[in-house]
Symmetry: C2
Subunit: 125 residues, 2 copies
């Protein structure tokens, strides 16, 4: 079960950008998605619809480690209103199978599901 | 003069997390700040208050290139409401001088100003 506060950050308005960071050949790479695009699977993966994300996909083929930050200004943090998480995990792109079907049902424009297996989720604020 | 849409993203509510990405020894590193914390200087640097950000500071001492994503769900993008920018630049931490004074006046808790010289700002959505 994912952290309850993380789920609150993912599901409470206002919607905020998620940063998805991978290792590129010439330095770090970052793309964004939105909190509201995240789908949680029964086995606690976080799925995002991939529109382009071509460079992210190439990067994780070489090194599948990802770091993701997820925030919400309206969710109470440790001391102030506004909190966020640093999620560390491994990622893969699925263009068929259950994760893809879950994403495709909600985001018909998605070419694949970016499926992130969570290794740690640290509340950063 | 920074892109007008970028300034709109930085100054319009709701406040959203900014992702600040640097190269670490063992992969990419990411920290967050908030849109509303960004201060724009007369020479178009983007300043953020540094609370901890110790690993970010170490990383930019070795490689001063940074990538930043900044988003706002309520600002009109190219096709949908919600847009963001990928800002690429170089960074330094200032613990004295004009940039530090600007940050310290607004964020007394800041130990330094993270000053980002913008090289490019691409509207990503």
């Amino acid at each position: 079960m994912l952290d309850k506060k993380l789920l609150e950050v993912l599901t409470s308005p206002p919607d905020a950008a998620v940063a998805i960071v991978t290792q590129g050949k010439d330095g770090p790479h970052v793309v964004n998605s939105w909190n509201s695009y995240a789908q949680i699977t029964e086995d606690d993966k976080i799925l995002f619809p991939a529109g382009r994300m071509n460079e992210t996909e190439q990067n994780i083929q070489a090194d599948n480690r990802v770091k993701i930050t997820i925030s919400n200004r309206e969710v109470q943090g440790k001391s102030i209103k506004g909190t966020g998480f640093l999620v560390i995990g491994t990622a893969e792109f699925a263009a068929e199978g259950a994760d893809y079907d879950t994403i495709k049902a909600k985001f018909p424009w998605a070419r694949a599901a970016l499926a992130i297996k969570v290794e740690s989720a640290e509340q950063t604020l």
